[in-house]
Symmetry: C2
Subunit: 135 residues, 2 copies
């Protein structure tokens, strides 16, 4: 099948399919006589795998590791679990940071009149030379 059809069937854009090939995440596609890439079942599987892993926020590097484990019949599930755990902890750290941002911003927004007057605690907080975190 052509790259366009593979893209439709996997939800990965043709652009990204070529890119994943260029960086070595997927094996180079077979080529027809006209040099068009030709995809089969296994390629489609790998691309779907990648798309799902991306949706779960795995990096390309992590996905490379997961794909290798997928292909390794003798893989220990502990290794997969380790990668996923490291990733989920990273996600949790980032969420915690973002929640802190949100809490601060919500406080500032609540304190801001939001009318035509120029007095705004949001700008005051960002610009105040004697900066302190609101409590």
């Amino acid at each position: 099948m052509n790259i366009g059809l593979a893209a439709k069937q996997t939800g990965v854009s043709a652009k990204m399919i070529r890119h994943y090939e260029a960086i070595g995440l997927v094996r180079p596609a077979a080529r027809r006589e006209n040099l068009y890439r030709d995809y089969g079942e296994r390629d489609v599987h790998d691309l779907r795998f990648i798309r799902r892993a991306r949706k779960l926020g795995f990096s390309i590097e992590e996905i490379g590791g997961l794909l290798a484990l997928w292909r390794d019949e003798t893989r220990p599930s502990s290794e997969v679990r380790r990668i996923a755990t490291v990733h989920v902890e990273d996600l949790e750290n980032r969420v915690a940071e973002m929640l802190a941002m949100i809490a601060t911003l919500r406080r500032l927004i609540d304190a801001c009149p939001g009318d035509a007057t120029p007095d705004c605690p949001i700008l005051a907080d960002l610009g105040d030379a004697c900066h302190r975190t609101l409590t």
Copy 2:
């Protein structure tokens, strides 16, 4: 003051200070005879403002708008509030997405034996041709 001192006083690296100047986020610094950049009170203020806004996750573009409002004595606080609200809603959306990823991954990790056996629900979920979200 030199760019290095300004960097120390504001927490913005010299690299980034030059970058912010290049993209027009801050006004071009005054130059001494030797072409060294020369920073004053107001520059330091703007850089601190930027650093704090970055810590709250505002994009450079949003910060440009906030800085302009800061300098505008007649700004309506409603405009500042609007920018902050849009941003916080964006943050909340991203957090919700990440929480969904985390929930899915936690379920998969909990179901994974994490031992030397190759059977792993994490890979099964990523690779299954008949894919369904775990409930």
